[in-house]
Amino acid sequence: MHEAVEVRLTVNDETRALRIEPRETLADVLRDRLSLTGTKVSCDAQVCGACTVLVDGLAVSSCTFLAADADGRSVRTVEGLASGGRLSPVQQAFIDYAAFQCGFCTPGMLMAATAILEEHPRPTREQVVRGLEGNLCRCTGYDPIIVAVLAAAVSDGSDGEAGS
């Protein structure tokens, strides 16, 4: 056993003070301590993107990101995408375009897509393809996901075009 450390994380706009072990990953803390089980772990090695969350707006693999390193920072997970009972445009687009099947990659895929759209409100198809290259999906063959992200950009109130 190692000495516990105190961390303060802002998770989905809520500040949480926790005593954790230094070896705990952000994924462990989200899933096991905060019961935010939407974040999924698959490869556990920063290859598949399933565990992607946003830390201060940047997409990171929570399976290999130490929770202690998130101290004082803002963490956003799939549970924080909808607001006031309304799905975010990219969540809604995933439903509209059947951009998931089993859904295990979906939380990470949505967070990566959210980061892409925050950086490029009107992305090209190429930007979406490149931006999601680190997120694996074994069900959809990716095309419905790319189409959904481009459609979300259009439905976000801006006047971009899907370019699909």
């Binding site: 070896r23 089980t37 090695a45 549970e79 995933f94 979906t106 949505l110 063959g141």
Partner: protein, 761 residues
């Protein structure tokens, strides 16, 4: 997506691309998977695995692990004298934990239960096992030689789901099973041939990579066992658990929440017996959640070596096909005997063949067990069969499409004497693929195109039941033993129920995959759910409606008026009554329900086997980089011939996913063993397709109403994978003049073939 529809319109919402039912849960993170199931007092397990491919276990010292703080139970085979340790639905050869011997690197040897995962992992490090290494074999070719190490000293007991012939003697102790498909006079076919082609083709050992690794949670209460599992076939798992623990079927409850991908890799029993045994010894609920590295060592696909000879006449008509297939089944039989049976059936292809003889053996090696994987033998054998169709076309000066037109089975024609006739118009499918691919358009230099076909005897067996309950408010609950593995069953099955009952879709709720509360379904695989569970739900709806009409006659039409059925209810005289009103009238209360039952077996429309043919029709255009050997698939065409698309958007999405999975296996994916160990058993080294590998897609969904299912539906979702490797191989030949016979077609292999081509010039 292009839709070709010639069937009559079914009642809405059948045939509509309604949004997926699991959408809101899956996009908000609230969808529950097995790894999210937590129980009060639940402990966590870790497994110590064999570092040797083949070894005798001399002794296991668990004392230090048992003393480690936080450890609840340390379990070896010796700690389970009250459990039947050996399971297997085809061949009973698989110990749930090593019994005296290990047969592959990664085999479970000790299970440890602790308060948390990390403590259990620490305790794993404290166990010492004394192994006596034995000679091992990791290749099928070596496994069948005279002095090869024998992996199973005695053959395992054959079980009812074996799928292979029992009367054929094992040619070698490492042969696990044997299947033969044969008809006609094969010797005469080859004697009279104008052209005989012969070749050996290899398909790699692949990993399905369902992103959710195998996970199970088990708990015992008053002698009954409850298991949550990431299993595709909960009823099959129930049968194995009942056998292992000597329980009646009814005392075992297997529940399957959302499953994070299956593709066949979660068919049949995996870690459930071990998890239940650990929970039994721990006296606590236990979760065993594997890592991806452990999942790779749990189940993989069957690697295949296929030797095929094809005889043609001068006009390109097939006269005969003769083949042998060797499947590398790994250390345990798992479902490979059934894969072998299907591979033997599928090698001929969807063609009119006067004579055929195929022998398929599954062979034990000291590698991770192989089992079902999307396509189920078809991708392996289609590479051989379809490569030779293109080769014959070239030798005879025919267009590759034309040689297929001349041989392809007509609708209704039987591939072999006792099989169901082909329930598809394959000639028309070929033309659709050609049109979408741009078959007759000029090709750039270095590019090539190909179109390939497959037809799989799919659907497994029609052993399926469903319950449909209509409540006092007219809403409906459907209870089905089929699993939502991502394919969309939780959307499609309610669509069928809503259409059959004439009620709005939002009035239909579905309970699935819980052996304790819903009725029996054999399995969720072989593309059978929409077709077979769809029929069972239709039957249950008809049964419910018939009862409701009788109740209306009894409780509403009390003056002898005529009761006329209409969508969503009945009309009695001038008044309409919905189903709920009939339930209330019959019970004379604002309460009660009617229960409709649907049973499916080998009878009536589903008497003939297979229940349906699953069609694969895929076209590709490739560009071959002569410098690097890289094959770039620039265009991919799928023709989803599904009879009737209950939800066209979901059909398209299955086809794209299947084809992309096929593309990965054709170009990159291969598990590689070296010196008894898996070299690339992780996601760094085993590379699956990414967004950047996506070609231009053109999808066609064809609905001719020719399937056995509701409104002419038949299965999809595997078909568009099966011909992909063959199509890429044939297109590469047309692009670069090299004939690839060993998948995956990696840049190294392609580059080598290009050099050999140049040397031969």
């Amino acid at each position: 997506m292009k839709r070709i529809t010639t069937r009559p319109a079914p009642p809405a919402p059948i045939g509509e691309s309604v949004p997926r039912r699991d959408g809101p849960a899956k996009v908000t993170g609230s969808a529950t998977y097995t790894v999210d199931v937590g129980l009060p007092g639940m402990a966590h397990a870790q497994v110590l695995r064999s570092p040797y491919p083949h070894a005798q276990i001399r002794s296991i010292d668990t004392r230090a692990a048992r003393l480690h703080p936080g450890v609840i139970a340390v379990v070896t085979a010796d700690d389970l004298p009250d459990v039947n340790l050996i399971y297997g639905h085809a061949v009973a050869d698989h110990p749930l934990i090593a019994t005296g011997k290990v047969r592959f690197v990664g085999e479970p040897v000790v299970g440890i239960v602790a308060e948390d995962r990390v403590t259990a992992a620490e305790a794993v490090q404290l166990v010492t096992v004394d192994y006596e290494p034995l000679p091992f074999v990791t290749s099928v070719d070596v496994a069948l030689t005279g002095d090869a190490p024998v992996i199973h000293d005695a053959p395992g007991e054959q079980r009812s789901h074996r799928g292979f012939e029992e009367d054929i003697e094992r040619a070698h102790p490492n042969v696990c099973s044997h299947a033969r498909q044969a008809w006609g006079d094969i010797d005469a076919a080859f004697e009279g041939a104008h052209l005989v082609l012969e070749g050996e083709y290899r398909y790699p050992m692949c990993y399905a990579y369902a992103m959710e690794p195998y996970t199970a949670v088990a708990t015992w209460n008053e002698g009954a066992l409850t298991v949550w599992s990431s299993a595709q076939h909960p009823y099959m798992v129930r049968a194995d658990l009942a056998q292992c623990f000597g329980l009646p079927l009814g005392a075992v409850r297997v529940q399957v929440p959302y499953v994070g991908g299956g593709y066949g890799s979660k068919s049949y029993t995996k870690i459930e017996p071990l998890t239940a045994a650990l929970a039994l010894r721990a006296g606590r609920p236990v979760r065993l959640a594997l890592t991806v590295e452990e999942a790779i060592l749990t189940t993989r696909g069957d690697a295949a070596t296929v030797r095929l000879r094809s005889a043609f006449d001068a006009h390109g008509h097939l006269l005969g096909r003769e083949g042998t297939i060797l499947l590398d089944t790994g250390a345990y039989a798992e479902n490979s005997p059934l894969v072998g049976r299907k591979a033997a059936n599928r090698l001929g292809g969807p063609y009119r063949i006067p004579a055929l003889r195929v022998d398929c053996s599954t062979v034990y090696t000291n590698t991770a067990p192989a089992s079902s994987f999307r396509g189920f033998g078809a991708p392996q054998v289609t590479l051989a069969g379809e490569s030779q169709m293109d080769e014959a076309a070239e030798r005879l000066g025919l267009d590759p499409l034309e040689i297929r037109r001349r041989n392809v089975l007509d609708p209704g024609e039987r591939p072999w004497p006792k099989a169901r006739g082909i329930d598809a118009d394959l000639k028309a499918d070929l033309e659709l693929a050609a049109e979408a691919l741009g078959w007759s358009e000029p090709l750039q230099a270095g590019h090539g195109r190909a179109i390939c076909l497959s037809a799989s005897d799919a659907g497994s067996e029609p052993i399926t039941t469903a319950l449909l309950r209509v409540h006092a408010d007219g809403s409906v609950t459907v209870m089905a033993g089929s699993t939502e593995i991502g394919q969309g069953s939780s959307t499609v099955l309610p669509q069928i129920a809503a259409g059959e009952m004439g009620v709005p879709l939002d009035r239909v709720h579905l309970l699935q995959s819980d052996t304790g509360s819903v009725s029996y379904d054999r399995s969720t695989g072989a593309s059978r759910t929409t077709t077979l569970m769809g029929l069972a739900i239709q039957a249950a709806a008809r049964d419910a409606r018939a009862q409701l009409v009788a109740w209306a006659d009894e409780a509403i039409a009390t003056d002898g008026e005529e009761v006329v059925e209409e969508p969503g209810g009945v009309r009695v005289g001038r008044r309409s009554y919905d189903w709920g009103a009939i339930v209330r009238a019959w019970f004379s209360a604002d309460a009660g329900e009617v229960i409709g039952r649907g049973y499916l077996r080998r009878s009536g429309a589903t008497a003939e086997m297979p229940p349906f043919w699953e069609i694969g029709c895929v076209g590709v255009e490739v560009r071959v980089d002569e410098e690097t050997g890289e094959i770039d698939v620039v265009r991919l065409v799928t023709v989803g011939d599904v009879g009737a698309a209950i939800n066209p958007q979901l059909v398209e999405s299955q086809d794209i996913g299947a084809a992309m999975m096929g593309l990965g296996m054709a170009t990159r994916e291969e598990l590689i063993y070296d010196n008894g160990s898996l070299l690339n058993g992780n996601l760094f080294d085993y590379r699956v397709p990414r967004t950047t590998d996506l070609p231009e897609l053109r999808t066609v969904v064809v609905e001719r109403g020719d399937g056995v299912g509701v409104y002419g539906a038949k299965g999809g979702g595997e078909g568009s994978l099966n011909p992909v490797a063959a199509a890429i191989a044939n297109a590469t030949y047309r692009a670069a003049g090299i004939r690839l016979r060993e998948a995956p077609f990696t840049p190294e292999r392609v580059w080598q073939a290009l050099r050999e081509r140049d040397a031969g010039r």
